[in-house]
């Protein structure tokens, strides 16, 4: 799940300041799941902006709301075509992908990001999200018993823990587990410690060069897919 957090209200207000008619656009998939940009949060933000505006005294914005099932597919974006006509800016509560998709599809209208897209992660419990994957493009979870050292180790190192681990926690953040302690324990449990004894050479940081592209269509000539 892509996890994001709403931007502080002050920042959002500053961004929308030059635009009278604002469309607050929610997303019904990842942003709904992480309770950041779904229909409910769109409504809440709408209210908050209006209260803020009333408090400020000189209210100049009019707001409208809409939520798309997803912002990252062209077909869904088509549903916006009519609504775009009567507004000055789209305040998107979708992830960075959504914001860019809207900007690409509707080049004549400015799009603002209402959330800070943060990571790919999972819910530990409701309301608590942990990052799990950095999308490195070269997954090595086989070697580390299913625990990603690139994401869960602050330094992203591959050959075992640094000296900063204390009580199984990371030197950077005492609430974070040291990934290598976790990896050691699980490899031990699976009786696969020899995987940790191997030397792992430096990462290929450009496994898929940025901006990445994956082509999954089968190619008639080469016969391959998954480019």
């Amino acid at each position: 799940m892509i996890v994001a957090q709403q931007k502080p209200l002050e920042e959002t207000r500053r961004m929308i300041a030059p635009y009278p008619r604002v469309l607050i656009l929610g997303c019904g998939t990842c942003m709904t799941v992480c309770d950041t940009g779904g229909e409910r949060e769109v409504s809440y933000l709408h209210n908050a902006l209006r209260v803020a505006q009333a408090k400020g005294g000189n209210g100049t914005h009019t707001f409208s709301e809409y939520t798309l099932k997803r912002q990252c597919d062209a077909e869904f974006l088509e549903l916006l075509a009519d609504k775009i006509k009567d507004i000055d800016v789209v305040l998107s509560l979708g992830c960075g992908i959504g914001v860019q998709a809207i900007a690409e599809r509707f080049p004549d209208i400015p799009v603002l990001p209402g959330v800070n897209t943060s990571f790919m992660g999972m819910a530990k419990e409701r309301g608590v999200w942990d990052e799990r994957c950095a999308a490195c493009g070269d997954c090595r979870l086989e070697e580390t018993a299913g625990i990603c050292p690139i994401t869960r180790c602050t330094k992203g190192i591959l050959n075992g823990p640094c000296a900063g681990t204390k009580n199984g926690k990371c030197e950077a953040n005492k609430d974070m587990d040291c990934a290598w302690v976790l990896i050691y324990k699980r490899l031990e449990r699976l009786q696969q410690l020899e995987k940790m004894r191997r030397y792992y050479p430096p990462r290929n940081f450009r496994a898929i060069p940025r901006p990445k592209r994956i082509v999954s269509k089968a190619n008639l000539n080469t016969g391959g897919s998954n480019g």
């Binding site: 823990p161 000296a163 681990t165 302690v181 030397y199 792992y200």
Partner: protein, 300 residues
């Protein structure tokens, strides 16, 4: 090129003493030079730290040049936090060309603990990969397999944490560092000789030299602070209590006493091959410690 002085001493049976100097936060290196002059003849080599605790400072390589200029034996501490593999290889070429051939390979503290918390952490390599890279360069090739015009040669070391609370993964990494080519190890601060002994029982099978790290504490408060905030430091309660017994202002004396006590014992019992004194800002008291511990550097 021939072995460095330090490398020679490594192969001898002498009790080794190294220390470290933290470079200045700024362009004024006068105090650093003063410390170098103070210590160069009393120790076997001087480490220059590399943005220790992720605090931006005068570079380690620059500090090593100063040590060399003033007649000391430098150890170039190199972390992977700030430079990618191109920059690391380049700096090593420069170091070699200036006669700086002792390198301590470290992963490096994370940026979050330092004073530039928003910097981009690089960590293109880790300490093990850095060791391997150096050995590759020595064979005349760079990391990508291209030929080097003039291959360097180094004496390389790494760090180890015998007092880690969960020691097994650290030992696995230790072995990987040895396999990657480390010749000597400077440990994190030792405060409990029993764990040093346990570690040495295991480490003595390897053909590497272990120098016990000795931290000079100045007060109980400093000890507690380091415990909380500095990565890799675990100071036992007994030491903190000992420091707490003295009155204000006398803390450093106590710290000197504790440090020299440790060094003396380590030397007398040949627990390991030497010590690495970390004075953390109190470099001036290192000679006093050495005297109290009745340790004299080889050849002086």
């Amino acid at each position: 090129m021939a072995n460095s002085l330090f490398e020679e001493k490594l192969s001898s049976k002498e009790f080794l003493v190294t220390t470290e100097i933290g470079p200045p936060k700024g362009a004024d290196t006068s105090e650093t030079v003063h410390h170098i002059d103070l210590l160069k003849d009393k120790v076997d080599a001087i480490n220059i730290t590399d943005h220790q605790s992720s605090v931006m400072r005068f570079p380690s390589l620059g500090g090593c040049l100063l040590v060399k200029e003033h007649g000391g034996e430098p150890i170039f501490q190199m972390t992977c936090r700030d430079r990618n593999r191109l920059a690391l290889q380049a700096d090593l070429l420069l170091a070699y060309s200036r006669g700086i051939t002792n390198v301590l390979c470290l992963t490096g503290d994370c940026v979050d603990v330092g004073d530039h918390k928003e910097a981009k952490p690089v960590f293109d390599l880790d300490s093990v990969q850095l060791l391997k890279m150096i050995r590759t360069m020595e064979s005349g090739k760079d990391m990508s397999g291209n030929d080097l015009k003039g291959a360097p040669k180094f004496c390389v070391g790494a760090s180890i944490h015998p007092e880690a609370d969960f020691i097994e993964p650290q030992l696995i990494k230790f072995e990987k560092k040895v396999a990657a080519g480390a010749q000597f190890f400077q440990t994190q601060g030792i405060f409990d000789l029993a764990s040093l002994r346990r570690f040495m029982q295991y480490a003595s099978q390897f053909n590497v030299k272990i120098l016990a790290g000795i931290i000079v504490l100045a007060s109980a408060r400093m000890a507690k602070f380091m415990n909380e905030n500095v990565p890799g430091i675990i100071i036992s309660k007994a030491i903190i209590d000992e420091l707490a017994t003295v009155e204000k202002g006398k803390g450093l004396q106590k710290g000197i006493e504790i440090a020299s006590r440790f060094i003396k014992t380590i030397k007398e019992e040949s627990l390991c091959h030497g010590v690495h004194i970390m004075a953390v800002g109190n470099e001036k008291v290192v000679p006093e410690i050495l005297e109290a511990a009745q340790v004299v550097a080889l050849g002086h």
